[in-house]
């Protein structure tokens, strides 16, 4: 009776109205603002993103809310255009990493044995490789640009998804419904597509939202080191780098792009946290059995959250 009893208990908890996590809602609102502002940049930007010799290094004023930079461009406008770059990088990196990482991870998790060992060792190598250095090397090899940044970060980001989806897929591979499918003679690839993948998505989805902030930070760092977006593209990290020498005299040139990175990364992290609590992996199928020490389970979800 125990399983039925706990299942009933489980349903009891789920039916309780989940207290709306104001924290996550706040994060969601922030993200909507950032995304909408970035997409509408060309229409809502107060000035064109071009140098204006007459307006060099103006402090924040009614005309220029965030002031102007050393070549007279309006800082607010550049931040709006910069938002597009950052969001593009975030979405592109996460898409590439998730697709590559999850595919490898699910195959490794389901197949097990030497297949899993080979894939996991290769993953470990990329995990051990300092992400920034691999990114730097790739950025140097492929001439610095926004696309290079995407490739460079994705090259060091996919392993997290492989490790996460491998552990989730491995636990799903032991479930009754997978054995039942095997007994029906369903071929392995179809079992992976029809059963293992859908049930592995929840933890991966949570991970994606948690990582978005991290990708933006890493992209900005690369641009700050001059290996990401190049002049004249508007990119927050680049803006901080260009303005850093003026920090003591013209504080706004550096402060506002930095704040933009902070706010966006913060919003993504908050949503990720809220999503993780709402889609508690336990209900998502990743950690249903109580046998596994659950604090290690928290580790599996949390430690993969560490941002490279």
């Amino acid at each position: 009776m125990t399983a039925a009893e706990t299942a009933a208990g489980g349903r009891l908890r789920r039916t309780l109205p989940r207290i709306p996590d104001r924290f996550a809602a706040f994060g969601a609102a922030l993200i909507v603002i950032v995304v909408v502002a970035s997409i509408l940049a060309p229409w809502i930007a107060p000035y064109p993103d071009e140098p204006n010799p007459l307006e060099l290094l103006r402090p924040p004023s009614a005309a220029h809310w965030f002031g102007t930079d050393q070549v007279g461009r309006d800082v607010l406008t550049r931040i709006l255009y910069g938002g597009r770059t950052s969001l593009f990088i975030a979405v592109a990196v996460l898409a590439v990493s998730a697709v590559a990482g999850v595919t490898l991870g699910v195959v490794a998790g389901y197949a097990g044995g030497w297949v899993r060992d080979v894939i996991m060792r290769v993953t470990d190598v990329f995990l051990a490789f300092p992400a920034l250095l691999l990114s730097l090397a790739l950025a140097v090899v492929l001439q610095p640009s926004v696309n290079t940044v995407v490739l460079a970060i994705a090259a060091t980001w996919w392993p997290w998804y492989t490790r996460l989806s491998a552990s989730v897929a491995a636990s799903i591979a032991t479930r009754g419904y997978v054995d039942a499918a095997r007994c029906l003679g369903v071929p392995a690839p179809l079992i992976i597509l029809r059963h293992v993948l859908p049930n592995s998505l929840t933890p991966v989805l949570v991970q994606l939202s948690l990582d978005a902030g991290g990708v933006i930070l890493t992209a900005a760092a690369l641009s700050y080191l001059g290996l990401g977006a190049q002049e004249p593209t508007a990119e927050w990290g680049l803006m901080v780098q260009q303005g850093q020498t003026l920090f003591t005299t013209n504080w706004w040139v550096v402060t506002f792009p930095g704040l933009a990175i902070l706010v966006t990364a913060f919003a993504f992290n908050v949503i990720g946290e809220g999503l993780r609590n709402a889609l508690d992996p336990r209900s998502g199928g990743a950690r249903q059995e109580r046998a596994k020490p659950t604090s290690a389970g928290a580790a599996a979800t949390m430690s993969t959250r560490v941002v490279k």
Binding site: M1, T2, A4, E5, A7, A8, L12, L16, P17, R290, P293
Partner: protein, 245 residues
Amino acid sequence: MIEVRDLRVRYGTRVVADVPVLDVGEGECVAIVGESGSGKSTTLLSLLGLTPDAEISGQIRVCGLDVRTAPPRRLREIRGARAALVMQSPQAALSPATRLGVLMRRALRLHGREATEQIMSEAMEAVLLDPALLRRYPHEVSGGQAQRFAIALAIALGAEVILADEPTSALDVTVQAEVVGVLRRLRAERGLALLLVSHDLALVSTIADRVLVMKDGVVVESGAAAEVLAAPSHPYTRELLEALP
């Protein structure tokens, strides 16, 4: 020992348990029987104030203390020392990184009791366990041993009543007999009162003096075990009896 009048346990708007009367006298064994979702476990846990998120109405007196109005400190004094809990999943009920002996010693010291080797060994032997197990971690003992250790904790602290929430349903049949046998012996030798929650009517019939039958949060029948099980008046109790293979 335990007096309950018009207990109602609510989660939000749903009444999960409605128990008009529940009494457990000295040395008496009362069983609450029902299927999953009947509210039997919630009822038991609410008696020790272990259902924090629920709204509880009605009157609960355990070992002379009104559980609902007593200050937290007074409540903590009777928890473990006067009224002890035995839970359903033995291993999960023990902190994974604490040796059994350390847990017992801390519990004894918490209640101002001496935690000597002798006292702890006696408690272990009372439940037919080798005192050497005190040096082990919970994952190094079997389910039956962990469950009997929980009972040993109650013995060491000198509890007068044990509240057992499905103590044997997670155990193998042979091990189940062992745990129930220990409970029965302690009741005979030490006059220990027992409130047993179970879905197993047969098990209850071998040990309970009085029985409450619950269905969907409501007590449908209660009375002396012999009478209720021999001549059930409520159709649901009959259905339960007939379903026994």
